[in-house]
């Protein structure tokens, strides 16, 4: 076939032109139908993939942050709960002590009051008895002796008598 080129009747340069035109036309058609859209799609896909990778990284970081926040919040609430329990405990302790102290003080006061009352009663009873005895003895003496006596002299006399009686009673 090379011989045709060299010796042949006519060199078919037309083919050369034909192939160049065909090739350029083919390039144009491929560009319109396939190359343009397909490469654009490939580029879009590459962009999308890189975006996806970026956003995945982003959301991973967000999730990690969130976990940290949650953990911090959890630890915080735990310590808060601990504090609340501790406060309640100390409060309870204090109240218990206060109540006990108040009760003790009350008891003390009541005891003292009771003792005082008892003492008072005793004194009252004693002085009443003393007066009654004096009056009674005056009445008896006036009835017996039938004579007017000076109340004060008589009372001093009876007091000394009763004291003597008490001493006799104690011994």
């Amino acid at each position: 076939m090379l011989s045709h080129l060299v010796i042949g009747q006519a060199l078919y340069f037309g083919d050369s032109l034909f192939y160049i035109v065909t090739f350029l036309l083919l390039m144009w058609i491929i560009k319109i139908f396939a190359w343009g859209p397909v490469t654009k799609m490939m580029q879009d896909r590459a962009d999308k993939i890189s975006n996806d990778i970026d956003s995945a990284e982003q959301s991973r970081n967000d999730a990690a942050d969130l976990v940290q926040q949650r953990q911090a919040a959890l630890a915080n609430s735990r310590s808060e709960a601990q504090t609340i329990v501790n406060d309640a405990k100390t409060n309870g302790q204090q109240q218990r002590e206060q109540i006990v102290t108040a009760a003790q003080a009350d008891v003390q006061t009541m005891k003292q009051n009771a003792q005082k009352d008892i003492e008072q009663e005793r004194q009252d009873a004693l002085s009443n008895a003393r007066n009654d005895v004096a009056d009674l003895s005056i009445e008896i003496a006036s009835k017996i002796i039938q004579r007017e006596l000076k109340g004060d002299d008589q009372k001093a006399l009876i007091d000394s008598y009763i004291e003597g009686l008490g001493k006799q009673h104690e011994s």
Binding site: M1, L5, D15, S16, Y19, I30, P37
Partner: protein, 239 residues
């Protein structure tokens, strides 16, 4: 094949070879069909056809990336894709379909088994390389590249352009042409003595077809690779 008649026709004062025009149109139509049907319904999640196209685009881009700087690959991607696809189908076409007229002139065969076709593509590569050099470096720096490493290198540089042009075109032509010629020879052998030779020759023919298909793919790949190398040489200033 040398004595075979060649069917030609005249158009606009130029001589055309019928075989080249018809085969070229067949390849053209095949590529348009494949590309058209594969690029329907493009989606983010690619389907079958789109996968194939994307794989092919990645493949040819990969070839270009082998030698052309990554920033400039995008400019030559379409060219490399079309060139590879066209050459590949051209190489394979004649292995499966060969049509001849009654007079013996072939009408359909591999377009690349004709040097005029391969040298046309080779010439296109050289012109793309020249344009790329001027586009990237400007006229002055592009043409002073021929004077490097020293001024007397100029004849060798110019000669190198011609050898590149010839070797690039004739390599692919030689492989495809010889492959087809051997196919013809084996077929003649098969037909020579009836059924006996047919039984022997058909497996050989099939094996050779397979091997030629492989060679055709390799040659298309080599052509695009070397083209990108020649272009990349023009894209940088020689030291």
């Amino acid at each position: 094949m040398n004595g075979d008649p060649v069917s030609t026709f005249q158009f606009l004062g130029l001589t055309f070879s019928t075989a080249n025009v018809v085969s070229g149109l067949i390849v053209f139509a095949l590529i348009v069909a494949v590309v058209f049907f594969c690029s329907r319904k493009l989606a983010m999640k690619p389907s079958k056809g789109q996968n194939f196209l994307e794989w092919l685009i990645d493949f040819t881009n990969g070839i270009l990336k082998g030698s052309i700087p990554a920033d400039d690959v995008g400019k030559f991607g379409l060219w490399g894709f079309t060139l590879f696809f066209f050459l590949f189908l051209s190489n394979e076409l004649g292995l499966f379909i060969q049509v001849a007229t009654r007079g013996g002139a072939t009408i359909v065969r591999s377009p690349t088994s004709d040097p005029i076709a391969t040298l046309t593509f080779s010439l296109m590569t050289m012109m793309v390389a020249q344009f790329a050099g001027v586009w990237k470096l400007g006229y002055k720096r592009h043409f002073t590249n021929y004077l490097k490493p020293f001024v007397f290198w100029l004849p060798i540089s110019i000669f190198e352009e011609f050898t590149n042009f010839l070797t690039l075109g004739l390599r692919i032509f030689g492989v495809i042409f010889s492959g087809e010629m051997l196919l013809g020879v084996i077929w003649d052998l098969a037909a020579s003595h009836g059924i006996a030779t047919m039984v022997v020759a058909v497996p050989i023919e099939m094996a050779w077809q397979g091997f030629s298909a492989f060679l055709g793919a390799i040659q298309a790949f080599v052509f695009v690779t070397l083209s990108s190398v020649y272009i990349s040489q023009k894209l940088e200033v020689e030291e």
